[in-house]
């Protein structure tokens, strides 16, 4: 939240909210509301309490709470509960400790330091991964910007402030101009959004964030301008590589694509952007030295292991492919070396593929690799759970080869 005109806080220090939450301090306030740090007396833990000002519609907070409750992902702040105190609706959130990305950018800038390309790609991969999950839940964040990204301990990157979140299908809601001008896509200013394309606003915001992260400055000064002028500035924005020669041209091109004035010219999903970012991570020219494309195939059927290996090699002949039929062995293998791509059968004899995914995510081992489940009988519930874990699902069958080849090619452009 940004600074706002001085108004009396909704809650006061020491106040006991709903007989449970003892207000400790005001963490931040903005035009719409406030966030407090509080102590949950029942569970003896620190939490964040979010409220909207009395003159703001309660819908914002309701929508945010419900959106957060629908998503379980390390990149999204956890909502504990929602309540009401003195007629004020409040949301109880996980208290995420860390440094916001806008402060990190400011601090680096003030020290005359630049963010490394590999570090930036890692951060963008985390955000694109989170947005993939948010969008798959049918939601658009609509306020992706550095101030809404928290860098927490353990390399966790958390997308905050879902106050403007809306379902993709809410056309009326998306016509309302909302967000932060510098990170706002041209179509958001006019409110002329095509149904089902609200997620492309987030991809634009991520593009501007990426630009600022690497260039240290915004791509252009939004100022007070008409939507037409904003669109024109977006079109004429200089390529990132003009500011930094060490940014690989595919990364510069991807960021420019994300910031395209026309929504149809942007990557059409956060997942597509994620694949491209992951593919860039291991490329020569980034700080991380190039290494062979590593794939781990986990399936208890030797015939499937052979087929999957063949399909991977069809798209990446130089790939290093390790195979195993055992889930526990797979976890040991990932511990030794995290592959770029993990192809995982769900129906394994010892621990099933979903358990393997949960263990890997829980141990933060699989964060840097793309996990694709390959199954002959995944249920809808399986697929939804896997989506929440950031895992893509493919079906065993005649289309498997083409789908897998496309994935590998996107990760590993030849």
């Amino acid at each position: 939240m940004t600074d706002a005109p001085k108004v009396d806080p909704v809650f006061t220090q020491g106040e006991l909210v709903a007989e449970t939450y003892e207000i400790r301090s005001l963490l931040g306030s903005g035009g719409m509301g406030e966030v407090y740090e509080a102590r949950d007396r029942s569970l003896n833990r620190r939490v964040a309490l979010k409220v909207v000002r009395p003159n703001i519609k309660r819908d914002y907070l309701l929508r945010e709470g419900r959106a957060l409750a629908a998503i379980h992902h390390p990149g999204v702040v956890t909502v504990h509960t929602m309540g009401e105190h003195r007629g004020v609706l409040f949301l109880v959130l996980e208290r995420v400790q860390g440094l916001s990305l806008d402060r990190m950018i400011d601090e680096r800038r003030s020290r005359g330091e630049r963010i490394g390309v590999a570090e930036a790609i890692d951060l963008l991969v985390s955000l694109a991964d989170t947005l993939t999950i948010v969008h798959k839940a049918g939601l658009a964040h609509r306020d992706v910007k550095p101030a809404n990204v928290m860098l927490a301990p353990g390399g966790r990157v958390v997308l905050m402030d879902f106050g403007l979140v809306l379902p993709h299908a809410d056309r009326a809601g998306h016509r309302t101009v909302a967000g932060s001008l510098d990170y706002m896509a041209p179509e958001a200013l006019t409110g002329h959004l095509t149904e089902g394309e609200a997620h492309l606003l987030d991809i634009y915001g991520l593009g501007v964030l990426a630009y600022e992260l690497l260039a240290g400055i915004l791509p252009f000064d939004s100022g007070d301008q008409t939507p037409e002028a904003h669109r024109a500035k977006t079109r004429s924005c200089p390529l990132l590589s003009t500011h930094r020669s060490d940014v690989p041209s595919p990364l510069s091109a991807l960021i420019a694509q994300m910031m395209a004035a026309e929504p149809s010219e942007r990557p059409q999903s956060a997942e597509a952007a994620l694949w491209q970012l992951r593919a860039l991570r291991g490329r020569p020219g980034n700080e991380g030295s190039a290494r062979p494309f590593a794939v781990l195939v986990v399936d208890d059927d030797p015939d499937m292991r052979s087929a999957l290996t063949l399909y991977v090699r069809a798209a990446a002949p130089d790939a290093e492919v390790e195979t195993t039929g055992d889930g526990r062995h797979a976890i040991r293998s990932v511990r030794r070396r995290v592959p770029d791509l993990l192809l995982l059968d769900l129906d394994l004899p010892d621990i099933n593929g979903i358990e393997v995914c949960m263990l890997l995510r829980g141990m933060r081992l699989g964060d840097s690799c793309m996990i694709v489940s390959v199954s002959a009988r995944a249920t809808r519930a399986d697929v939804e759970l896997l989506q929440q874990l950031g895992v893509r699902s493919l079906d065993k069958g005649p289309d498997l080869m083409n789908e897998l080849v496309q994935i590998v090619q996107r990760m590993r452009p030849r």
């Binding site: 059927d301 015939d303 087929a307 002949p317 069958g397």
Partner: protein, 106 residues
Amino acid sequence: MTEARDELQTLLAAARAEFAARLEDKVRELQELSDRGAWMEARRAAHKLRGSAGTYGFAKISAAAAVMEDVLIEAEPSPDEDARNRFAAALATARVASVTATREGA
């Protein structure tokens, strides 16, 4: 580029033919498992055949294996007579399809 594509097509065709050559054995294994009432193993074997046959392009066998697997899952822990009959019918379909696939050299 064309050479690499040709090589890949050759490899894919060889893998499919090699798989087809073992299809009858896989169906025979399912028969043996059901004959001795090893239903858990039969379910796993049917599951594997469902996925691999579908992936290698043997849709009929994959569909028959899917029926076998689903029947055994529904009837867990041990299939009754009706379930055994449905399993046997699907197995017979898979057997015919596997013979055809092997004869035609995939």
